[in-house]
């Protein structure tokens, strides 16, 4: 019973004191008077005496373009095969995709009909010259390395291309779709050898009825990245 009263008194005393303490700050805890806010911000303690070094760094050389030339054989449907040569420029957008523009030329021979008939000519000699340009999108589908012996490794890429353009042959410009595959063999980081196989498709109605001609081209080339 006594201990219960004692606890009650103790609680009452505690509540009373804490109330007083809160209002009158009897125990002196906390700030008696908050200091007025200083008008000045703290000044800079350390004055740097080291002048900033002006470093002029050279710009990094970008090599996203590739330019080169090629020579090979083009088989013009009905007109035989002949030497083809041309030039190419490519822009590498990402490590996978690139854009490519090609211009090239070849020459058509005699058709079987012209050979068998003797003198008859379907088109004039000047019209046998074939020139084309194409704009292609390419993708490096199989990047890799090849090894020559133990000491040499070369980067390579197997790529696919597809695009469109125009071919001038037999007196007319012909809308051309071309697609193919190529192999890029990098001799150094900037110089590459190419082997390419492409099919140029265009419509031709020279021999009576209109048909889509497949004109296969295979070539070897050299390109430089810049």
């Amino acid at each position: 019973m006594e201990s219960r009263f004692r606890i009650l008194f103790l609680i009452a005393a505690l509540v009373g004191l804490s109330g007083c303490a809160a209002t009158k700050n009897l125990f002196g805890f906390g700030d008696e008077s908050a200091p007025p806010p200083t008008a000045e911000p703290p000044g800079q303690v350390i004055e740097p005496e080291v002048a900033r070094r002006e470093v002029k760094e050279p710009a990094i050389d970008r090599e996203d373009f590739e330019i080169g030339a090629y020579v090979g054989i083009m088989s013009i449907e009905d007109f035989g095969s002949n030497v083809a040569y041309g030039a190419r420029i490519a822009y590498h957008i990402t490590e996978g995709f690139f854009l490519e523009g090609t211009v090239g030329q070849s020459e058509g021979g005699l058709t079987s009909f012209e050979v068998l008939s003797g003198g008859a000519r379907i088109i004039s000699d000047s019209e046998r010259k074939l020139t084309y340009y194409n704009l292609n999108l390419g993708y490096n589908i199989l990047p890799g390395e090849v090894f020559l012996g133990e000491g040499h490794a070369y980067n390579t890429n197997l790529y696919l291309i597809a695009g469109l353009g125009s071919t001038r042959f037999a007196g007319d410009d012909r809308f051309t779709v071309n697609f193919g595959a190529g192999y890029r063999f990098l001799l150094t980081d900037s110089v590459a050898l190419h082997i390419d196989f492409r099919d140029h498709l265009f419509d031709i109605d020279l021999l009576g009825e209109e048909k889509t001609a497949h004109n296969l081209e295979g070539h070897l080339g050299v390109t430089v990245f810049f």
Partner: protein, 264 residues
């Protein structure tokens, strides 16, 4: 605490690029030449700040890591191809490092290196643009090349040259366009265009011979410029042409084209 100031390396091509055009002859020389073309001190040096820098054997996915450069060592950046950098370590080893790792290196003065790349802001604000489109021109095939200059983010002037390849006639067309982009900051940015030019048509050689014609054309159109990646955008457009022929009636031609372009 001082902030790191970021130095930006311009990603624009060096002006000497065009000089390469005549260098095809030098290919053989280049192959034989084993010494680097530039003196070593002309390359940018960066210090490795990550635990290590990984050197790959080639600039692309899948090429293995053959060498690592430890933290604190410096490497020289020899060149960049797409998102890869060819670096030379102090011991002479050369390998390709991707952009993500290069951005964690430091310059000699301890500042962080930032390798500039084109962003969608450049897509909105770039001054020059050039591209290639192809499509259908009133039943014929058309291949077009254009170049444009932006007077401000909304208005550009473009020059177009097109080759038209049809079943019955071929020809070419050149025109000047004014292009208005209403929301140039959008990733897919619609535009409207107005222009005038000349069109030249000649019948195909296997068709009954007709006279070649050169006429004036006017057109209105609309389309989209779509930001793809880096400095690269896709473009699709429709144009309605009126050919002012010397005959009694004018000719109307509809054109649909898609293609790609660069801005710089």
């Amino acid at each position: 605490m001082s902030e790191h100031s970021i130095t930006t390396i311009p990603s624009t091509p060096r002006p000497t690029r065009s000089a390469w055009f005549g260098c095809l002859v030098a290919v053989v020389l280049l192959v034989c030449q084993s010494a680097p073309l530039q003196a070593a001190d002309e390359y940018r040096s960066v210090a490795v700040a990550d635990p290590y820098l990984e050197l790959h054997t080639g600039p692309g996915r899948g090429y293995p890591i053959f060498h690592v450069v430890d933290r604190g060592e410096t490497v020289q950046v020899i060149k960049q191809r797409t998102e890869w950098y060819l670096v030379r370590a102090a011991n002479g080893k050369e390998g390709w490092v991707d952009r993500a790792q290069m951005e964690k290196t430091l310059q000699p003065d301890g500042e962080q290196v930032s390798f500039a790349r084109a962003t969608i802001e450049d897509f909105t604000n770039a001054k020059w643009e050039t591209g290639v489109l192809a499509g259908d021109f009133g039943g014929a095939n058309i291949v077009s090349l254009y170049g444009g200059y932006s007077l401000n983010p909304n208005i550009a002037i473009e020059l177009w040259a097109s080759q038209i390849l049809g079943n019955f006639s071929n020809g070419w067309m050149g025109s000047v366009n004014i292009v208005h982009e209403t929301w140039p900051e959008w990733r897919v940015s619609p535009f409207f265009t107005l222009g005038a030019g000349v069109i030249h048509t000649e019948p195909k050689s296997t068709i009954i011979q007709g006279p070649d014609r050169t006429d004036q054309v006017g057109h209105v159109g609309a389309g989209f410029r779509i930001y793809a990646t880096r400095r690269f955008l896709l473009r699709a457009e429709y144009k309605s042409y009126v050919v002012f022929t010397s005959r009694d009636e004018n000719e109307e031609v509809e054109e649909w084209k898609v293609g790609f372009a660069f801005f710089f």
